[in-house]
Symmetry: none
DNA sequence: AATGAATGAGCTTTCATTCAT
DNA sequence: TATGAATGAAAGCTCATTCAT
């Protein structure tokens, strides 16, 4: 009798580590957005990525490190997007830059539900996780510094009195975060357009020569 | 049949259910603030409360229901505090009420680290937990309605032009949430006083006859 | 997120799922026989199988499903054993088949203490567990149909008067179950041989041309 | 201020221990029949009895002892019912006694679903619980002895040849148990009437002068 | 590099039992 | 006697992590 042993075929395609890491981070974002932080398991993430269970520990050592990498990715993405605007040679005028900043903060890319959900998922854990807090904080500081300097330029240009660039920047950042929260929590009552109107109004009040009040 | 082989021997003291429920909710707030949502276990909570493991299921049926009761408690506390101000007979003038609202939103009671941490912990999970989202949303709607009506009175009184009470209210709420986030994430760079200044400035810009710009 | 602080270190050996399932079902039978249904825990079963706690949920999803698989295994084993006799080409004569059936029903393999204990354990729970009842019932129906048809052939051949194959089959099945119970409950007073004598006598009375009364 | 302390009224009616014990045993039978052995909890039983949680330990010391008392109650009830027939002065003829025995074994009182369910629940656990096994066994021995003596009288009276009272009695007992099982497991396919026919036929075959074959 | 069966600590939940009232 | 809030051991189940393949 001839024994024909059929080996179970396993697909094994070696990909550069960076591709795998990205794939897993993307899957993590999807899972956190869909199921929340506490229901995001390694099994879910790897299934979402179409990969095997063990792969996370191969590329990230632990779940914790995958989460940190995910947060860092999101934060970096936001900060670099913002930095690009501020250093852009397209928008040279201060007013243009501020407007571009507003556009960016309410662009579909930044206000995508899953991205916002991930931000708040991490903020929710930040109090008790020094590493998360540190990353969030670093991102905040970078954002704040960049914006403050831009606003300072506007204040100098416009000769606005009694306005502190620092206060304005902190207020703007807080307002953005709060509006994102509303977009996430109450998508029915709250639209991106409405959120942008509110933020625009905030800046128009403070820097009337640079930003016009929202249309309708 | 569950085999219970050893007779437990310990202290005992019956308390009215309401006392126990409160005790457990308080412990839950402490644990979420200290350890985060995902590290908040029944063992932690009951240990914090100085009670036995089984007590949560006795008084709340499940962990999920304890968490929901906790969220509801926090939300109710905030909303009723706010309501008290708006219907208060102490502050009769609109301007006084707005000022009282500001005071309330940045009072130590409301901005206690643990309370804020709990808010954000739940917001972080809200996207994927309909019940959390519903409670948060209901609280938001109540807050929004109350504030909008107050701002409308101010607008009518002051004869302010081109201001929408709805936009102002939504902006105020968002700003408050964002400032709370900063108080939570970056307590070093951010103080309660500074947060209040920013919020005051926001309202002073819109309702100059009712609210004065912050002092320093 | 579940906090797993300690790295587990142990032996490992992957087996095809079928092997593991069989292994676990065997261990379940042993445990139910030894400790009874209500003292059969996952820890006991996995320890008996020499495997880890988590393995049952990996291969059966839940304890309930393991128990159902166990019942089904036992039932299938009995039914297929019986079927083999009835369709066997070795015993062609009806009388031979009936005798083979008797031999089978009191064979060491079928009347093994642990198998009987498992039958009765499930019967004891069947009233309140629709799934158990369904499996037991389906097995019963199959058994009954097979035996009835065999007895009908005997009745036709022997020209026995006033005997209903249906009644005879139901009686035989009931008698077998009752004798098994006695073998289980009172092994001291009751032997396999004695049980078989009683069953043989029952059939010899009804089908004298096919079955001879027991020896002594 | 006058403090009026309303004491919560608690109904406390001291009943003779025997009444309480009976109440609890009845509730236990109901629960086992409804939910099965492994889902029968003290909470269920006491709720069914309309009493407080702690009462079982007051009257029975432990759950185990309540279960044993329940089994003993059921067994005693059966045995004493049977004894009453055998020693009855109403049925003096042996044939009458045997008929009365058959009537009793398939009376609604004995074949009540809940009673049968309890029997099988205990039989299911008997293998691993010496106490259960002992009670079941003792009941069996009593039954067997009583029946054997009755059958012996019939054999002597009828001058039946080649029949052992012992074998007949053991067979009868086993058949009864098996028929009860069918009544429990397959109430759709199996009726009390049908079961009684089968048992009657069994005895009619062995003791034709005493028992007539079943009607239809 | 990649897989996924296997592990076992830790989770939520259940429930027999205790005991202050 | 009787109550029922409280206890805590043990249950079933989850899931991050390991490692033979």
């Amino acid at each position: 009798m001839t024994e024909v042993l059929v080996q179970p075929l396993r697909k094994r395609r070696a990909e550069p580590p960076e591709v795998r890491r990205e794939q897993l981070i993307t899957a993590t974002i999807t899972c956190i957005a869909r199921n929340g932080m506490s229901a995001t398991t390694m099994a879910e993430v790897t299934k979402e990525a179409g990969l095997s269970q063990g792969i996370v520990n191969l590329h990230f050592e632990s779940k914790e490190k995958l989460l940190i990498a995910t947060l860092r990715t999101i934060a970096d993405e936001y900060n670099s997007g913002q930095q690009k605007i501020l250093t852009s040679s397209v928008h040279t005028a201060v007013a243009d830059k501020i407007q571009a900043l507003l556009d960016f903060d309410f662009s579909p890319r930044v206000t995508r539900k899953d991205k916002l959900a991930v931000w708040f998922a991490f903020w929710g854990e930040a109090k008790s996780r020094p590493t998360y807090q540190h990353i969030c904080s670093a991102s905040d500081i970078a954002t704040d510094a960049a914006i403050r300097s831009l606003f300072q330029q506007a204040i100098d240009e416009g000769g606005y009195r009694g306005i502190s660039a620092e206060l304005l920047a902190q207020g703007y950042t807080a307002l953005i975060d709060g509006l994102w929260l509303d977009l996430l929590i109450a998508p029915r009552r709250f639209t991106r357009k409405r959120a942008k109107q509110i933020a625009t109004l905030y800046l128009a009040n403070a820097l009337p020569q640079h930003i016009e009040p929202p249309g309708d």
